[in-house]
Symmetry: C2
Subunit: 299 residues, 2 copies
């Protein structure tokens, strides 16, 4: 893929998403100012916008216009942001720092942080159920997109993975446990990121399957890279304490199988993600490039 350069692609798409999120959260009628401040604080906390960018790359791969993919892309980021706010709470991971900034509850208090998370999750469904520029025929596909976001974010997806992760703390890390948690806690929403444009566009089942396989493999690779970086990275690059997973006895791939096996797995998964895209042809170039980029990232 000599033609695809991930950095400018990520930067330009992330800028579009930032502008769209800013419009959504500019001056939403009826929102108490203090709640809006807490919501905006975490939405604009320097996130890489990976889920929205994957969503826009998948839209390109299935021929859905970028302007139509923007709102589902924003919905994904709103769900991701709420999950970080709630994960950081004292009753959960009790983190004071995220990406080098104070976490939501440290700045706004636990009560506001819980409610800001609730408001962002709810807003995600308002945004995804209100697509713009979708043809009348494809409005029929919107309920399926809402269902996808809800099921991947809910008890069988992200929230369920978070519960399993809590329950696994202190238990012996096994590959089966690690994979089951990673697939739900981070993989599910990354999968939704590439599946949503396909569902809205109403693609043939083979195309949806290809994107599902890409999402599963690239999503898992992403989380294994995260595990590796947590063990080997330095705090300045990570924006949080290195080695914090290990200190907490978290279920990570390196803890279950070692660092070398983790790195090999990332390679295999990335190759599998790229192979999965074969039926989509050249339009899937950005998705291929992003899979490679995610495998090689250093923060």
């Amino acid at each position: 893929m000599p033609s695809f350069r991930p950095e400018p692609y990520l930067a330009s798409r992330a800028a579009l998403v930032d502008r769209a999120l800013d419009r959504i959260l500019k001056d939403p009628g009826g929102c108490p100012p203090s709640l809006l401040r807490a919501m905006r604080y975490s939405v604009f906390a320097g996130g890489k916008r990976l889920r929205p960018v994957l969503c826009m790359a998948a839209a390109e791969a299935v021929g859905l216009r970028a302007s139509v993919a923007l709102r589902p892309a924003c919905a994904l980021e709103l769900v991701h942001t709420y999950s970080l706010i709630h994960d950081d709470l004292p009753a959960l991971d009790d983190d004071d720092l995220r990406r080098g900034r104070r976490t939501n509850h440290v700045v706004f208090g636990e009560d506001r942080a819980i409610l800001a998370g609730d408001a962002l999750l709810t807003l995600a469904f308002e945004v995804i159920s209100n697509p713009q520029g979708l043809s009348r025929e494809r409005v029929r596909n919107v309920p399926g997109a809402v269902r996808e976001l809800a099921s991947q974010a809910g008890f069988a997806g992200m929230v369920g993975g978070q519960v399993s992760d809590l329950e696994a703390e202190g238990k012996r890390p096994t590959l089966a446990r690690v994979l089951s948690i990673h697939r739900r806690k981070t993989g599910a929403l990354l999968s939704a990121s590439v599946r949503l444009p396909a569902i809205l566009q109403g693609v043939p089942p083979a195309v949806l399957s290809a994107l599902t396989r890409y999402g599963r493999s690239a999503g898992l690779a992403f989380q294994v890279v995260d595990d590796v970086l947590n063990e080997t990275g330095d705090a300045r690059t990570l924006g949080k304490a290195a080695g914090s997973d290990k200190a907490r006895g978290k279920m990570t791939y390196p803890a279950a199988a070692g660092l070398d096996a983790a790195r090999r797995r990332v390679d295999e998964l990335t190759k599998d993600a790229i192979r999965a895209l074969a039926p989509l042809g050249r339009r899937a170039e950005p998705l291929r490039g992003l899979a490679l980029h995610m495998a090689r990232r250093t923060n």
Copy 2:
């Protein structure tokens, strides 16, 4: 309304809703058992199912089949249940008892309670986006229903009202503040309860307006009755300490205007709710009866 008897109506509709909720939460694939226990604990904690019953009565009023209204009705109860779990958390109202039972976080821990709430809110959107028995033509109305639920539950509705309520604690109660909080914190979801079937059915604007006015007036009356009962009821009937609002300096109607004015306001609002239903004719009988019942309730 000599023909309508609220108790059997409420009991029969609540039983339908209970069965539907039980099916939804029977053995949902991929849900960690401990999370499912925490979700079920609060969903089946003896709630009166008022929002679902209002939804089914509104469905009757607009000619939407009861079997089709059941899933939006369940979604409303899931949202209501999540809001109670989060409101009871130590960082918010710090309540140990609700309806005479230990609150979710007391039984399952704060971390599980936060996540069970998140899972229920997310599930509500999975349920409402997946209606059953809706004609192909009306599937087009589903995104509007999702939007309605999200906007009434979110920053400008229930969550926003909760934030304003937190911020008002200790401030001087004024009618303007009380009304603004009540309209959002409880009124918004009660409004959604009667508007959802109308949106799904695609009724003319005048009918939707009539239901909106009913929802606003009956919803506010409901909350003012709650305020009055909190001040005058006994703990056994309420399932929580009487006078707890006063002790906390909560924004209540009696605190702003006195008990007599509160009771008069309930009467006026109830009459207004019933007047609003005039264009709907006899099919709105259950909604009329429920408005009267809500005004006269003692727990």
